[in-house]
């Protein structure tokens, strides 16, 4: 079909080449349907929620510096860890890479002008903010002390506070997740540039696709669960109440049917980012592309079948427990495939230790520790000893923080020149990455030991013999805080003072590096044509690839 816009390319109109940042009014931001601007809106929003949730974590760590409960009352402590969990899971980790980096990069990676449904994309941000504001409102007006899991019957019969407001907030934010996932799936299927076949897609696209499938299929179950929870709390009749013929274990099944796949929502996009980083900074093709791509899908599929490993001590049938345990071991296989393939990609690569690569290497190590300790917990007998202890806390923080947060930071640094057109200060960036890594390990490694020794989670006081490791952990968290704070300052600094960059400062492959930095409003004046596989870095390391490698060709030429 010969549309006018394609023929008009030879002298592109200045309108088309204007950067997406060129409009400055508040209205132009709040009513934008540009996926890049919505990505920025998400970035600012999740940083706000991260700051609040991190403050709660700091209070928790401060409380735990001494064995007695002296800083926070028991109830306040419960509210703090609930606040920390709810905000970090639903308002930071789940939207972090998909809604910020995915929103920004995915359409450009696909050679598309926008996501398939731009207005739904904006709606998803408004839903997210509505949900977030309700959650904050719930915190200010009494708080919630149930933990982020809202287990019944505590949450329905006994808990004071704003359980229903908080649940409504999460319910609404859930619809924002669904819309984002729906948009990503439709975009990946329908808006790929000519020549961009499924097996030429960057792995980041594969992992966002797998994530979106989980978002779309798991989140509605959480929505209906929270609805039932609220109805039960209001109506006083319900299916999760054992005294009325229901069963609290049913709540746990439905909750983990969502929340275990949600764990993969929180790690799969990180794996995608790390694949981009590892190939770019070792100047190599990805080792075993098909396996890494397939592993993303396998993790998404198996991720739906392992929820019962959260319930080994819940009176679930031991036979179900055995199956869930086996399946949990199986899900480790695709995860390990990824780790081995990243390592094999590094082998004989020409490795540059730039800031994003430092985060990526940190990710690989910490994700491996987090994954292997996950297998301890998936073992039926060992889990009885470790469940509800700090071992669990340490395990999932190795995945969530050591994995997802490091990948998010790595990706943010990697694409920062693309997003802003400016480079961050490299030396400070490296320093922040190292400080984060050290602070993280000092915070969470002692918690493995604490958990193994038997310190339970979710108590504000503990026996005196656990104090040493708790002091280590609190000290580490302050270093971690410095590691998080540094990028905030130098990123803001770089907005004005950073050196300007060209389209492809890293000499990386991928369509996002063929368009200007920052990209024009509709990304490409002419939709590119893709002629080669992903990660076509010359082997062995030679001169960097050309910026465009024929991608500017008009497909109708």
């Amino acid at each position: 079909m010969n549309t006018p816009e394609i023929q008009a390319h030879p002298a592109p109109e200045p309108v088309a080449e204007k950067s997406y940042l060129s409009e400055h009014t508040l209205r132009s931001w709040l009513l934008t349907t540009d996926h890049k601007r919505i990505g920025i809106l998400y970035l600012l929003s999740i940083l706000l929620f991260f700051a609040i949730a991190a403050t709660a974590a700091a209070l928790i760590r401060l409380e735990l510096i001494t064995p007695k409960g002296d800083l926070l009352s028991a109830e306040m402590y419960n509210r703090m860890f609930t606040l920390h969990g709810v905000l970090m899971v639903w308002f930071f980790l789940i939207p972090s890479i998909p809604s910020v980096l995915g929103n920004f990069i995915l359409p450009i990676m696909l050679g598309a002008r926008d996501l398939a449904f731009p207005r739904l994309n904006l709606l998803s941000w408004y839903l997210f903010m509505t949900g977030g504001c309700l959650a904050l409102w719930a915190i200010l007006w009494g708080g919630v002390d149930t933990g982020w899991t809202f287990y019944t019957p505590y949450s329905t019969l006994y808990a004071n506070g704003q359980v229903i407001t908080m649940a409504t907030g999460i319910f609404i934010a859930g619809f924002s997740s669904i819309l984002t996932g729906l948009n990503f799936i439709a975009t990946t299927h329908k808006l790929r540039a000519p020549g961009l076949t499924w097996f030429r897609l960057p792995i980041f696209v594969w992992s966002l696709y797998a994530t979106s499938v989980i978002l779309v299929l798991a989140t509605p179950v959480l929505a209906i669960l929270l609805t039932l929870l609220a109805v039960e709390r209001i109506w006083g009749v319900g299916i999760f109440d054992a005294t009325r013929g229901g069963d609290p274990v049913l709540f746990q099944h439905l909750f983990w049917f969502y929340s275990h796949p949600a764990v993969y929502i929180m790690i799969l996009p990180g794996m995608g980012v790390v694949t981009e980083l590892v190939t770019c900074y070792s100047r190599k093709r990805l080792f075993g592309y098909n396996f890494v791509a397939g592993a993303s899908i396998a993790i998404a599929v198996f991720g739906f079948l392992v929820w019962g490993h959260h319930m080994f001590v819940s009176s679930q049938s031991p036979y179900a427990g055995m199956i869930f345990s086996l399946l949990s071991y199986i899900v480790a296989v695709p995860s390990a495939v990824k780790v081995f393939n990243w390592t094999a990609t590094l082998y004989k690569g020409s490795i540059a230790l730039d800031t994003p690569m430092l985060y990526a290497l940190g990710f690989i190590g910490l994700f491996t520790v987090g994954g292997i300790t996950g297998l301890f917990l998936a073992a039926l007998a060992v889990d009885v000893h470790l469940t509800h202890t700090y071992f669990v806390v340490a395990h999932f923080h190795y995945i969530m923080v050591g994995g997802m947060v490091l990948a998010f930071m790595g990706g943010l640094h990697y694409w920062w020149p693309k997003i802003t057109g400016r480079m961050y200060p490299e030396q400070l960036g490296r320093l922040a990455a190292i400080v984060t890594f050290i602070g993280f390990n000092l915070t969470f490694f002692p918690q493995f030991i604490l958990g193994y020794l038997g310190m339970p989670r979710r108590y504000h006081s503990y026996p005196a013999e656990f104090q040493f490791y708790n002091v280590l952990s609190t000290a580490g968290s302050s270093i971690l805080g410095v590691g998080y704070a540094m990028p905030v300052f130098y990123f803001i600094w770089s907005l004005k003072r950073g050196t300007r960059t060209g389209a492809n400062p890293w000499h990386a492959t991928g369509l996002e590096w063929t368009t200007a930095s920052p990209p024009p409003t509709y990304n490409f004046a002419v939709i590119p044509v893709v002629t080669e596989e992903a990660y076509c870095y010359p082997e062995p390391a030679g001169p960097p690839p050309k910026d465009t490698s024929g991608a500017e060709e008009d497909r109708h030429a």
């Binding site: 449904f117 009749v237 009325r244 013929g245």
Partner: protein, 243 residues
């Protein structure tokens, strides 16, 4: 020349980020199917709860089921199935250049949806009047009455016999009616959205600018989905006690 971004003008055949009108239509319909996938999982949680209940005490669910208004449920099923047929005809006519006839058929569909909701409301009143609204006013004696326990179908063997009261678990009975209200209530809410969609499309079809083909198509998909949910709800709730 580049088109102005996101022109809402009727003559603009497709939005700026698509390459052709066909791509836009494909994408819109594809997106609707994904949305319906999420809806399946949304109702899935309720079906899981129902399964749990039926597992906990099959007899109780069957006894409870016999307190629902089967004739009204049958009429509603017929109405909904017919409405899907009429809607399909409407969509065909809109694709074949008969927008005014299509608009009328969509309006008929919406009216049938409203009729369904009215009958549903009558049913709710019946059940509430019988004292079977879960909560403090729930009258378990109604479920336990000899009349209610007469000639029940017991277990997998399917022998007809009068039930003993001790075979019925009162708490499960209350939960059955609770689930009845939640499931059919959520379905009714979806139907209400469908009615609004049908009316909006019907009005737009009568306008000179018309309405995009995929909007009509997606409304149809949504309506059929709501219909399909009912096809599962009807046997699980109404027929459970009559097999």
């Amino acid at each position: 020349m580049l088109k102005p971004k996101y022109s809402r003008a009727m003559h603009s055949p497709y939005e700026k980020h698509f390459e052709s009108a066909e791509q836009q239509r494909d994408t819109a319909v594809f997106g609707m199917w994904i949305f319906l996938g999420t809806e399946v999982l949304f109702f899935g949680g309720l079906f899981m709860a129902y399964t749990f209940l039926r597992w906990a005490s099959p007899v109780t669910v069957e006894v409870g089921s016999r307190h629902l208004e089967l004739p009204l449920g049958c009429i509603n099923t017929a109405i909904l199935l017919t409405s899907s047929f009429i809607l399909t005809m409407g969509i065909q006519f809109s694709e074949n250049g008969r927008p005014r006839l299509a608009a009328s058929l969509l309006a008929v569909t919406a009216v049938m949806g409203i009729a369904f909701l009215c009958i549903k409301g009558t049913e709710y009143l019946h059940v509430i009047h019988e004292g079977l609204l879960p909560g403090p006013a729930f009258r378990i004696d109604r479920v336990m009455s000899p009349d209610s326990l007469r000639a029940g179908m017991i277990g997998a063997l399917g022998q007809k016999a009068n039930l003993e009261p001790q075979n019925v678990v009162p708490t499960v009975a209350e939960l059955f009616f609770w689930l009845y209200f939640v499931m059919t209530g959520l379905h009714a809410l979806h139907l209400l959205i469908g009615i609004v969609l049908c009316l909006v499309i019907a009005v737009l079809l009568r306008r000179p600018g018309g309405v995009s083909r995929n909007a009509v198509h997606n409304t149809g998909l949504y309506w059929h989905f709501v219909d399909l949910v009912w096809i599962f709800l009807f046997p699980l709730l109404y027929l459970a006690g009559h097999w």
